[in-house]
């Protein structure tokens, strides 16, 4: 029971992290019709910036704040230099160009920070376990990830649904030419949305950094998970991304935690220990396959254009 609560919280935390990444991806896709593979690189850069700035300033909070700003600026610069020339192009062109950017970022990081990974140490006040239920303790840092991510999700909802800028974003998603014709500076809006997506990716990266090591390629596997989430949730739908992200985070975490034991009850222990790792890493892809068979357009598709 104790393990189940703990693992469910881990799943929720992982799912929320995935949501931050998927939200940026789906926003950019929904509004600019742009597929950004380099989104994972921004996630990686967020983590590297955080590790570097924390080491420089000696303060975790200051480091994280600076890293967030740096990722935002990097995203805006990236959009300004390269990506805005790719809007309106074929999706294949966008995929290839951003694939080129991934190659570039990976080697640039290797050149600047070296091939070995970095560590982002936590301050003492985040390492204490917190009692969440009688007798159940949970690491404060993981709990704070859940709180921050939920707060960001709520903020995102308010910005998109309740503010003028959010109205423009939604209008841009449903008809780009029209809001341009109504006198809105579409270029500026796109840059802003891209920067926002970059900051979300950076936030996800720097929050994950203390749990795992900061290393080259850390954004790639998680980017593919974000793709799976978008496919399950429906492209361009933030609500879909949120629900699908939590779903995927839970299934992946709980599958890895409990599948080996479950299999051991059915199969012989040697067969179970062979099959379990492969099967638990397959779970979310199987889920995606099922969703595709039942609802090819995703569970919560955004309104048709």
């Amino acid at each position: 029971m104790l393990v189940l609560v703990e693992q469910s919280l881990n799943g929720l935390q992982f799912g929320l992290l995935l949501f931050l990444l998927a939200a940026g991806l789906t926003l950019v896709f929904g509004i600019m019709d742009f597929v950004n593979l380099a989104h994972g690189s921004l996630y990686m850069m967020g983590a590297y910036f955080a590790a570097t700035f924390t080491a420089w300033t000696g303060s975790f909070v200051l480091g994280i704040g600076l890293a967030l700003c740096a990722t935002l600026l990097l995203g805006i610069a990236l959009e300004f230099v390269a990506l805005r020339h790719l809007y309106g192009r074929d999706h294949l062109d966008q995929v290839l160009a951003t694939f080129g950017l991934i190659l570039f970022f990976n080697d640039a990081v290797r050149l600047i920070w070296g091939p070995a990974g970095l560590a982002l140490p936590l301050p003492a006040w985040l390492t204490v376990p917190v009692q969440i239920m009688p007798g159940v303790y949970y690491p404060a840092y993981r709990l704070s990830i859940i709180v921050v991510a939920l707060a960001v999700a709520a903020l995102l909802y308010i910005v998109v649904m309740r503010t003028r800028i959010g109205m423009l974003i939604r209008a841009g998603a449903s008809n780009r030419e029209m809001i341009g014709a109504l006198g809105i500076n579409v270029k500026l809006l796109f840059t802003l949305v891209f920067g926002m997506g970059a900051a979300l990716a950076g936030l996800a990266g720097l929050m994950q950094a203390p749990i795992l090591t900061v290393q080259i390629g850390m954004g790639e596997n998680i980017l593919i998970l974000a793709f799976v989430i978008i496919v399950i949730g429906g492209i361009g739908s933030i609500r879909g991304a949120f629900l699908a992200a939590i779903f995927v985070g839970m299934i992946d975490t709980l599958g890895r935690a409990f599948l080996p034991d479950l299999l051991r009850k059915i199969l012989s222990s040697s067969a179970a220990s062979t099959a379990a790792p492969a099967l638990s890493s397959m779970l979310i892809y199987l889920l995606m396959a099922i969703v595709l068979v039942v609802r090819p357009e995703g569970l919560f598709p955004a309104a048709k254009r």
Binding site: F29, V35, A82, H85, L86, R89, H91, L92, D93, V95, L96, A97, F99, G100, L101, I102, L103, F104, F105, N106, D107, A108, R110, L111, E220, N221, I224, F227, V228, I230, V231, I235, T274, P277, A278, L279, S281, M282, Y285, M288, A289, L292, V293, P296
Partner: protein, 315 residues
Amino acid sequence: MKFQLNVPNVVVALVAAVLILLPLYSQLSGNIFILTLFTRIVIFALAAASLNLIMGYGGMMSFGHAAYLGIGGYAVGISAFEGIGSGFIQWPMALAASALYALVIGALSLRTRGVYFIMITLAFAQMAYYIASGMSRYGGDDGLTIYKRSDFGGLIDLSNRVQFYYLCLGCLFGGIYLIWRIINSRFGMVVQGIRSNEQRMQAIGFHANRYRLVCFVISGTICGLAGALLANNTDFVSPAGMYWTRSGELMVMVVFGGMGSLLGPVIGAIFFLVLEELLSQFTEYWAMIMGPLLLLVVLFARGGIMGLLGRMSRA
């Protein structure tokens, strides 16, 4: 088909001549390295050509073609590991396994279009990667060493560099001939018609997805053959060889060479791998140059090298 003396055709003829005569040069000059490099290039050219069949002619942007390289390779590696050394068993198994995987993945992925298709083929290929990493009996993450190359009786000796090179080259020419026959057949015309206008083809009475799926399976099977060759070339298969960046590289080869041109992928594979080789001799951080170069090609050189050559001959 009348042979015209224009720039693309001359370049293609030159490339074919170089590929055929390469072992001779390697023997005379004693440069073994170039033969090793070009064996690799020829194998990747076959894989890129198979990808071009669905990307260039079928309009299906698969971002998961590295999975077939892995499946073809593991079919050879696992059979060798389990004591089946004969190529007459290994290679058909490699083809069958790739075809089966393509059938399942294709049937699922083809329910979607466009960017969904790119993401889904990518995700399924990544699943295959994780499965390979999880096969602890066959080396898991570390991969599987193949101690003996496929045995084809007295017919051909795969351990002989020159014989193996010509086998790969024969497979490449055979593969390209097959693709040429396919795209000029009724079946190929239908597939290209579906790429241009699916609704219209449906309305005429063609079952679009069936044609697409068959095309997808053919492409995957050819790529599986490339995987079997690659495993014999490196004497090793590992999950790293089917990582998603490998799929990206295959796409890059197709686009560099010219998507939808029969021989573009061959030119693209030569260009990409030779450039990679040269850059990595020059600097350890070759991808820092390759990445932006790719961005520039996408932005400014549509149609790739074959497209450029075609424009040169018209100018």
